[in-house]
């Protein structure tokens, strides 16, 4: 029997209308696994399988009320061998891989796929005597669940991950006979309840109201309500032996199925894909006498198929899975594409193409071309082959079908191969997942709905990091962030184990080994942040490991961040300082300022000069001038930096308008210079400080000493006083008195002065007179000038460049002559004349 034949042998028609085969509903029984070791199904027990081919949970009780749950893959590998739950009522799986366990006391416990208790949600306030648990899919990859109690009250949680409980109850006190809960896209959660033959429906926040159901049957009650995966149709079971297919709004009946042999009661109803329903039936209470019947959901025919079973059923979006002790079978609807390609005597183009491709590998390869040219619509045939390959379980058939598609492409031009490539990638992933070791018998369609990200999450959660990484690399779609997640979770797992083991936790050698292991792996993926791993290590209370890890992160800013998180403040600061990055150092400083007392952090900062300097800058810019000044001073005082203290006080003195503040600053500057031990400096600053009060008394705070002398030049007493106070030299007093007198126009007094003492010559008199434009006065003093140099200087001052030049020329004094020449530049006439003299001076 060829692989294909084996595959087709499991096709069973459950509805064969008169027309063509293509319109028939054909079920495909795909044996996924045959297990050497049987999965232990006990009795009584609960069974639940995670949607999208996730793990299964098997629960059996050992003593009256104590239950044991084991979580296994479809192939029987334990993910968690034993979870003990007293008082368990029922279990169910959510879309995001979590197990919901309901107890009789009305508590819901959420476990991860590896059996870690994630959350506990008490329902006891809302309901009593629980009766049933239902999980429903919501959007954004989450699930909700609802609990029904004996009184008909329903408590609902819309999101398992963020549980908020709300309740709804039917208006009637009578026993609820069937119920369902769904969440349609962009709508509120909806509850449908049947009490005998009356249907109630309502959304979250509303009351349950009687639905208009003209199609209801009488003489019995409705026992099951099951919505199709797309939520458009709903199958209901009436215990008089009918399954009715009704539009989701409950208004129209679409189809009615008669269930034969009413001795059996339907204990489970459900959809197989979108076009068939199944009913699990039991005779009386005998669990061994059970069967499943399959019906087409659209055509009334007797072609239903019955299967004796003891198997457990899991409903998927595109079919159901039957879990037997030693086998797992997937029942789904055979697609049109499959029928077209693989169907017996199919006349479809794709069948020709498939035949042609098959011949290529045999000794009939010469006739492949003949088959191929029979294909009229080649792109269609290729598409069909690809679709067919998607659904195939056997790798061999997948290959043959894909080869056929590839062969067909040779006959077309410009066929877009994107889809083809994508399917190949996905099939590779599917085959990997379906391997016995992983035991995820997922279909192509399920994987499409689940999405890569969720798939990776599932693998991560079950500790399949290697597989996750491999699949991530094959799919190339989730970006680097996918690898990040896998690796960090891998690290997380290691950390958790380490933290749990008190032996390794404190063993330096073990920790070092761990560090090396983690670093070796993470460094293969440069975009993955070692710092994140280190942060996790901190969270796992493994600071030693975190310290080791962070050393290997090339990103200095992240190193600093982790060190801060570790509380290694000094080290963080040192590290930041070593980077020479001001922004980073400032970040640490700001952090310090937030968590420590001022004196503490200033002490820490002071140890690192780069940081100290930035801190000073921070202070300078941080607050208003006065506060900044005070803080800065405090810092300089702490550091005993007297030089800068003195300069800071001098800055204050220079900028301060208030005389007393100014004086204070000067005094402090003097004190700082005293502490500095610079005697001359102290002396001068003490003179400065001593002079200031007198200035204030005279209301001359803004006057410099020179200006003060000039202002009081005509008052010899005052001048003498100033001279003494400011320790002025005679020369200064002489010059400034002259200038003061000229400025005040006290020309007689000036002349008097010139008569009495002219220790510094008469040039200052001339300069002062010229400065204040008293040219006629100049001559008086010019007459007193003697000596060549003084005379030349006096002439130059008075603008007699030519005369001065002639004197220099006579003395052959080229330097002086050159100097005069320069000075005469503005007086064009003189400049020319002096220039001639310069030129004619023999060198």
């Amino acid at each position: 029997m060829s692989a294909l034949d084996r595959d087709r042998a499991t096709w069973i028609n459950i509805a064969t209308p008169d027309s063509t085969l293509n319109d028939a509903v054909t079920l495909r029984f795909q044996r996924c696994y045959s297990l050497a070791e049987s999965i232990k199904f006990a009795d009584p027990m609960h069974f639940a399988a995670c949607p999208y081919s996730g793990p299964i949970a098997i629960c059996w009780h050992n003593v009256e009320t104590n239950w044991t749950i084991s979580i296994q893959t479809a192939t029987g590998r334990f993910l968690k061998e034993k979870i003990l739950v007293p008082d368990m009522h029922s279990v169910a799986w959510t879309r995001n891989h979590q197990l919901v366990v309901l107890t009789y006391r009305g508590t819901v416990m959420i476990y991860s796929a590896v059996g870690d208790l994630l959350n506990e949600i008490p329902f006891s306030q809302s309901i009593h005597d629980v009766r049933d648990l239902r999980v429903f899919e919501t959007y954004a990859d989450d699930s909700g669940f609802a609990v029904l109690d004996q009184q008909g009250r329903i408590a609902v949680v819309n999101k398992v991950t963020e549980p908020v409980i709300w309740t709804i109850s039917p208006p009637s006190k009578e026993q609820v006979t069937a119920w369902a809960i769904i969440r349609q896209k962009s709508k509120l959660t909806r509850v449908v309840v049947a009490i005998s033959e009356i249907f109630y429906s309502g959304h979250q926040g509303e009351h349950l109201t009687v639905a208009d159901t003209p199609w209801v049957l009488s003489n019995g009650e409705y026992r099951h309500i099951e919505f199709r995966n797309d939520l458009e149709l709903v199958a209901v079971y009436h215990n008089s032996g009918f399954i009715q297919i009704v539009a989701s709004e409950l208004t129209v009946e679409v189809h009615r199925i008669t269930v034969a042999n009413p001795d059996y009661s339907v204990i489970k109803l459900g959809w197989v894909g979108s076009s068939a329903v199944f009913a699990l039936r039991r005779k009386g209470h005998d669990v061994r006498d059970r069967n499943i019947q399959f019906y087409s959901a659209a055509s009334n025919s007797d072609g239903n198929y019955e299967l004796l079973t003891l198997q457990n059923i899991a409903v998927e979006s595109d079919g159901i899975k039957l879990y037997g002790g030693t086998d797992v079978t997937f029942v789904s609807i055979v697609s049109d594409a499959e029928k077209a390609v693989l169907g017996v005597v199919s006349q479809d183009d794709s069948a020709f193409l498939y035949e042609a491709a098959k011949k290529l590998d045999t000794n009939e390869s010469h006739s492949a071309y003949e088959n191929a040219i029979m294909v009229r619509d080649m792109p269609h045939a290729i598409r069909q082959c690809i679709l067919c390959a998607q659904a195939a379980w056997s790798v061999e058939i997948q290959k043959t079908l894909l080869k056929a598609a590839k062969f067909g492409m040779a006959f077309t031009s410009g066929y877009d191969t994107t889809e083809f490539v994508k399917v190949i990638k996905l099939l590779r992933v599917l085959n990997e997942l379906r391997s016995k070791r992983l035991g995820i018998p997922i279909s192509f369609e399920q994987l499409q709905i689940l999405g890569e990200s969720n798939l990776l999450n599932r693998l991560i959660e079950t500790g399949e990091f290697g597989e996750a990484m491999k699949i991530h690399e094959w799919l190339e779609t989730d970006g680097p962030e996918g690898a990040d997640r896998i690796l960090l979770n891998w690290v997380h797992g290691i950390l958790k184990r380490t933290a749990a083991s008190s032996k390794t936790q404190y063993d330096a050698v073990e920790i070092k080994k761990l560090n090396d292991k983690i670093i070796a792996k993470l460094s293969q993926y440069p975009h993955v942040s070692i710092a994140d791993a280190a942060k996790w290590a901190i969270d796992a209370k493994l600071p030693t490991l975190a310290r080791l890890l962070i050393k290997s992160d090339p990103d200095e800013s992240k190193q600093v961040e982790v060190l801060l998180k570790l509380g290694d403040i000094t080290e963080a600061l040192e590290k930041a300082a070593a980077t020479d990055k001001p922004q980073l150092i400032l970040q640490v400083i700001r952090h310090l300022m937030k968590i420590q007392r001022r004196s503490d952090y200033e002490l820490t900062i002071r140890k690192i000069p780069l940081a100290q300097c930035l801190y000073q800058e921070l202070i300078r810019e941080d607050s208003d001038c006065r506060v900044a000044g005070r803080q800065m001073l405090a810092l300089l005082e702490q550091a005993s930096d007297y030089e800068r203290q003195m300069l800071l006080h001098l800055d204050t003195a220079s900028n301060e308008m208030n005389p007393s503040e100014r004086l204070n600053a000067l005094r402090r500057a003097k004190d700082a210079s005293h502490n500095l031990g610079d005697k001359p400096l102290e002396e001068i600053l003490s003179d400065v400080a001593a002079f200031a009060p007198g200035q204030s008394q005279r209301n001359e705070d803004q006057l410099k000493i020179r200006e003060a002398v000039i202002a009081h030049a005509s008052d010899p007493g005052k001048v003498a006083q100033l001279k003494q106070q400011a320790k002025l030299a005679d020369k200064q007093v002489f010059y400034w008195t002259i200038e003061g007198l000229v400025k005040a126009g006290k020309m007689e007094q000036l002349f008097d002065m010139a008569q009495k003492k002219a220790n510094y010559g008469y040039l200052p008199f001339i300069k002062a007179c010229m400065k204040y434009n008293k040219i006629e006065e100049c001559n008086k003093y010019f007459a007193k000038v003697t000596g060549y140099e003084n005379l030349v200087a006096a002439h130059v001052e008075m603008g007699n460049f030519v005369t001065a030049a002639k004197m220099a020329f006579d003395r052959r004094d080229s330097d002086t002559l050159q100097n005069i020449f320069m000075k005469s530049f503005k007086d064009k006439d003189a400049y020319e004349k002096v220039g001639r003299l310069v030129k004619s001076l023999p060198r």
Binding site: P554, E556, T579, D580, K581, P582, Q583, L586, Q587, R590, P609, L610, C613, L614, Q616, E617, L618, E621, D622, M632, L636, E643, R644, M646, L647, L648, L650, D651, A653, S654, N655, L666, L676, G677, D678, P680, L681, E683, I684, D687, V688, K704, I705, R706, A726, K727, L728, K731, Q732, Y735, W736, K767, N819, M822, K823, S824, F825, K826
Partner: protein, 578 residues
């Protein structure tokens, strides 16, 4: 170095132009990242800086509908309000005031760009202010790293004149970090970014180390070959403070002297008194006239010694005359057409030559009357300086209330050349400065001492500079700082720019070139060991225009970078508070 005329008559060397282009790209990449029309709200202090990279027309091409000042609260029609802010608290206050007062609908998106960087503290403050009230209103807060400003077409400057003061007075090393970041930024457009970095002096070594670290940490992204890139063989960093003396001396090149006398502004313009410039005493003496220097003739004349200006200007006038000298009768149509084309340039050159003649004359006049004595004393001090007594000229200048900066510079020259001043002399200077100029001047003088511009000889080490001191006498011998025959007319020695004194800084660089940077601190390996040319020189701490002129005599240097183009006066004016 090739000097060529780029768009908008911008006369500059290729390297500077590439630097400017990079900045322009960064600027517009930031603007273009926002879709729709934009109104730029300016922090006024940035306006002049940024406008060096882009004209209003260029802004218009990038969907900028209008330019507003930060205190103009009129509502805008654009999709975005783009704030160009400097990272200061003042700018932050103004931004918050704008957000409070401007009545723009919330659909107008506020985008903040800090130039050149969003300083961490400022950013945090913005986040925290009013519990994030202002932060929430902002759509984005980013930075545009406009750090290198073109100067005179042959130098890129960071425009940070306060750097020496901040480093020496406050120890604020972040200035060095900024230098490193800026250098790294420039290396991004360098053809081979891993070229070696040579450095000399503490600051330079720190910057080199930080730059290298940035370079090592960044992922090497291959340059887009379509963009023009810089092609250096090595980067050379040197400390200004190896030679604090040269800026204290009077520059004697044309551009240097103009900068000393009138201060060349950030936009390559200077403003002079209109009545002086036009020699018209009738005019309002306070009227100023702005003269743009960014044109052909200035670039030709800028490095000419002031004494050679006459010759150089007459050459230019001769050229203009020759250009104008045509015989209309004998010209062919083609020649005539050519002339018509050339005419605007001839007229422009004529006008510009006139301006430079007047500026040269004014400079000459100032130099003769005011600076000549100072230059003379500087020379005397360079040749023989005595630490035992005050220089009488300086003493007299102080008594007569001469220009404070002149006085301080002369004292610095005295101290630096004499290897420090005796305590009594220092004390006398201090006292006299206080007596003539007041506490502010004394404060500045003390800071100069802390900065190492003035030293106490054999002092107790109090108020000492933390930078290595200049040993002038020794350096003079080693580097021949005062060569004998220096030709000011046709420069043959870098000493021409200071009329016979060679800037020590330039001399050290000359030696570096000669010895292929042996004994310099080196990071990285040579890629082109046999090619001594294509050096990017970065002077950390400022460079004078006279020194730039000197460096231009060294063909191995293809680009000059500096933290600021400075003068002695600017150095002193930028002495900061503690």
């Amino acid at each position: 170095m090739v000097i060529e005329e780029s768009e908008g008559n911008y006369w500059s060397c290729v390297e500077v132009r590439i630097g400017v282009e990079q900045a322009r790209r960064q600027l517009f990449a930031a603007l273009d990242s926002l879709e729709g029309t934009k109104s730029i709200v300016w922090d006024k202090s940035l306006m002049r800086k940024v406008q060096q990279f882009a004209s209003p027309q260029l802004f218009k091409q990038h969907d900028v509908a209008e330019h507003l000042a930060l205190n103009n609260y009129k509502s805008v029609q654009s999709a975005h309000v783009v704030f160009f802010l400097s990272p200061t608290l003042n700018a932050l206050d103004s931004l918050c005031a704008y957000i409070d007062k401007a009545s723009n609908p919330s659909t107008v998106l506020y985008q903040v760009f800090f130039i050149p960087e969003a300083w961490y503290v400022i950013r945090e403050k913005l986040k925290e202010r009013e519990n994030g009230h202002y932060w929430k209103r902002l759509e984005s807060v980013k930075e545009i790293p406009l750090v290198w400003f073109p100067r005179d077409g042959e130098c890129l400057s960071l425009s940070q004149p306060e750097l020496p003061s901040r480093l020496l007075l406050n120890g604020d090393w972040t200035y060095l970090h900024r230098c490193a970041v800026a250098l790294f930024n420039l290396l991004q457009i360098q053809a081979s970014p891993s070229i070696p970095i040579y450095s000399r002096g503490q600051w330079a070594e720190d910057v080199a180390r930080m730059t290298h670290k940035l370079r090592a940490n960044s992922e090497q992204t291959p340059q887009n070959s379509s963009q023009s890139s810089l092609q250096f063989n090595r980067i050379v960093l040197i400390d200004r403070w190896l030679d604090p003396l040269s800026p204290m001396l009077t520059q004697l090149t044309y551009a240097g002297l103009l900068d000393e006398l009138f201060e060349i502004g950030i936009n390559a313009s200077l403003s002079v008194s209109k009545c002086d410039f036009e020699e018209n005493a009738q005019l309002d003496p306070f009227d100023q006239i702005d003269i743009q220097l960014d044109e052909e003739l200035f670039h030709r004349l800028k490095h000419v010694h002031i004494n050679a200006m006459g010759i150089e200007l007459s050459k230019i006038l001769q050229e203009i005359r020759e250009d104008e000298n045509y015989d209309k009768e004998k010209m062919s149509v083609a020649e005539y057409q050519l002339l018509v084309k050339k005419m605007p340039r001839i007229l422009k050159r004529k006008k510009s030559a006139g301006q430079h003649m007047r500026l040269a004359e004014m400079s000459r006049s100032e130099l003769s009357q005011k600076l000549s004595d100072i230059v003379k004393i500087q020379k005397e001090l360079l040749f023989s300086s005595n630490s035992d007594k005050m220089v009488p000229f300086i003493e007299e200048l102080i008594i007569e209330d001469g220009n404070l900066n002149d006085v301080l510079r002369l004292i610095a020259v005295h101290s630096l050349t004499a290897g420090g001043l005796k305590t009594t002399v220092l004390q006398q200077y201090r006292r006299m400065i206080w007596q003539s100029y007041g506490i502010e001047a004394l404060n500045k003088f003390m800071k100069m001492q802390k900065m190492g511009l003035v030293r106490e000889k054999g002092g107790s080490g109090k108020m000492a500079c933390e930078h290595t001191p200049l040993l002038f006498q020794q350096m003079n011998k080693q580097y021949d700082l005062l060569p004998e025959h220096v030709n000011e007319m046709t420069p043959n020695d870098t000493a021409y720019a200071y009329s016979g004194y060679a800037s020590l800084l330039v001399r050290i660089i000359e030696e570096g070139i000669k010895l292929r940077w042996a004994a310099w601190n080196k990071i990285g390996e040579e890629i082109f060991p046999n090619d001594n040319s294509q050096v990017a020189l970065f002077v950390v701490g400022g460079l004078t225009r006279a020194e730039i002129a000197s460096l231009r005599l060294l063909p191995q240097i293809s680009l000059i970078l500096t933290s600021s183009v400075t003068t002695g006066a600017k150095l002193l004016e930028n002495i900061t508070d503690i």
